[in-house]
Amino acid sequence: MNPAVTDLGELVGREYKEGFVTDIEADTLPPGLDEDVIRFLSAKKDEPDFVLEWRLDAFRRWQNMKQPNWAQVRHAPIDFQAISYYSAPKSDADRPKSLDEIDPKLLETYDKLGIPLEEQKALAGIAVDAVFDSVSVATTFKDKLAKIGVIFCPLSEALANHPDLVRQYLGSVVPAADNFYAALNSAVFTEGSFVYIPKGVRCPMELSTYFRINALNTGQFERTLIIADEGSYVSYLEGCTAPMRDENQLHAAVVELVALKDAQIKYSTVQNWYPGDEEGRGGIYNFVTKRGVCRGDNAKISWTQVETGSAITWKYPSVLLEGDSSVGEFYSVALTNHCQQADTGTKMVHIGRNTSSTIISKGISAGRGQNAYRGLVKVLKGAETARNYSQCDSLLMGDRCGAHTFPYLEVKNPTATIEHEATTSKIGEDQLFYCRQRGLSEEDAVSLIVNGFCKEVFRELPMEFAVEAQKLLSISLEGAVG
């Protein structure tokens, strides 16, 4: 190797090693992860000491953990030292200047989804002009929410303004060392949202439009914390139907939900990260830990997810049913086309008495896609008369894809009622022909049949989101048959 290059490499390494702690003006860190990187991140955000300690503790535990390999997915080992753990948002000068510079295929998809032009620009990462003033939109919402005491802000802002509240709940549902990716996230999280709904308040709007605009700079290691105080209600929408490109291949987010007595949290996700090309090149690895706890009696947490993107999805939104008569729900549509892989499902842990949970999972596999449902229903000794209903349906399109179901049951209380139903079906030539004989094009027929299959999940989504999700599914399946 050219000695000059080696020297340069060493030089870069040395500068970084010595320079970053003080030089918090740096825009990007070179690849690599050690305690100094974590100190840099924490200093950059001006975080309270307890957060830094928490991050370091997570990091130390993470170093002793192994990448999990039990999921029904395949990928090359990830080199965590090859990732840069901080990079400032791109300045306007670095961004594309107009839609002419954007991949026409991406724009075509935006059009099909009916996304307004200005919003398309924002999604494609173009520096938006003053006409589309997202800041003022967000501010209007914020004022409205502030009046009723709802806190909705970036997690870093919450750490600065409400440190005690964050400290009380951060990591209380997903502990720092819960699993490999959660530990990594705890060590290096950079972005995320914080929501607090005060006692008895019903959040008057879906926390969505705001989020959609502000989701543009979501980080690789997002961390979201939502707390619904006694008797409150909130519906939170995460993600976006529009395909989002991101240069970071690994995404390891953590979402924690806390529902206190009589509170209800409805968390809906539409995930459409870049799935890679038809041969499976590129594409996001989405390794997410999502968990909610019903901490008081009669609390309720519902997860609804529509997962169509990412090369690999590894995700199990779960509910710990601590409070008596608390309710957990999981409604999921996961679609894998081309070379996508998904291993997703839920965990419902019944702890309190008379707790109930519902699991409706719809997996759609097309192309060479691999789709696994993995779910655990656990009924602890004290969970008298717990009830669970699980339904896992798989739909196959073509003969090169796969569907797998891994239901786990652990029941320690004899009064529990557990029901599990599973079906696997193939989208039939006869169904397609029937629709076409009635005048529908083949693509419309596929979309009709698939939407019918997913109906039980779509009806759980807020109206506008549901319409978008249906369109999204059709687009994701284009060319899957025939």
Binding site: Q431, Q437, L440
Partner: protein
């Protein structure tokens, strides 16, 4: 309306239709009868464009167009309707939703405006009455959990909504009790009109007591071996299919 010439269909080296000729004029109702395996359902499926029935010879012309060159959905939009022998279940898709998509696909093809929700519902209610169906029927998933009779009724209801130029009814009478048969037959009769042709594919004469055909054809060995008026069906009923199959001299032009 429909002109089939020397139609030959070969599946896995086996000739199912063997030079079949058939002409159906506007407003006419033709019955195609024949023993099992004579090629009746194949004929219905070829007209509708189902895959798996390769045409190896002959032609089918519909309103002057080469029907065989059109995709199934194009044929449907041009006005070809097939009432399925085994209507297909589509879980989670409401009957009314499929209907609306279907009606609008055809309207769009004809250069007409899509029906709005109110006009559509008005039309639906009118046609429901025709088949003596309840409105809740609209919101059930397509054919899912339907009884045999309900499925067949649903086919004729769809036909009423789509107002085809040519309707092919493939064994619509099979599996129906006498009451359901009457309702279905009334539904079809109400739709007879000078610009709508109907082909009834059936094994039994029974249906023809209720839907009286202009012409009756007997299909055997992949060809029409005998044609006549409605009396032919009664003769068949009396003498069985052996009668036409065993006597090649009975072959006549359609």
């Amino acid at each position: 309306m429909l002109k089939i010439s020397k139609l030959t269909v070969t599946v896995d080296g086996k000739t199912i239709l063997n030079g079949l000729d058939l002409e159906v004029g506007p407003g006419e109702v033709h019955a195609i009868m024949g023993p099992n395996g004579s090629g009746k359902s194949t004929l219905a499926n070829v007209i509708a464009g189902r895959e798996g029935y390769p045409v190896t010879g002959g032609s089918v012309s519909f309103l002057g167009q080469d029907l065989l060159s059109l995709a199934p959905e194009k044929r449907a939009r041009e006005g070809v309707f097939l009432a399925f022998q085994y209507p297909v279940e589509i879980p989670g898709v409401a009957n009314v939703y499929l209907l609306k998509e279907a009606v609008n696909a055809t309207r769009q093809h004809r250069g007409e405006e899509k029906l709005d929700a109110m006009d559509f519902l008005k039309l639906v209610r009118e046609k429901l009455k025709l088949l003596q169906m309840k409105e809740e029927f609209l919101y059930r998933s397509v054919n899912e959990g339907f009884s045999g009779g309900e499925k067949k009724r649903n086919e004729i209801f769809q036909m009423a909504m789509l107002e085809p130029r040519l309707a092919v009814l493939d064994e619509t009478d099979s599996g129906l009790d006498i009451d359901a048969l009457k309702i279905v037959a009334d539904g079809v009769n109400a739709q007879r009109s000078p610009d709508r042709s109907v082909i009834l594919v059936t094994h039994y004469q029974r249906l023809l007591d209720y839907i009286v055909p202009d012409r009756v054809h007997v299909l055997a060995g992949g060809r029409i071996v005998r044609s006549g008026d409605k009396r032919l069906a009664l003769e068949l009923e009396a003498q069985g299919y052996g009668w036409v199959e065993s006597d090649p001299s009975t072959v006549s032009a359609a």
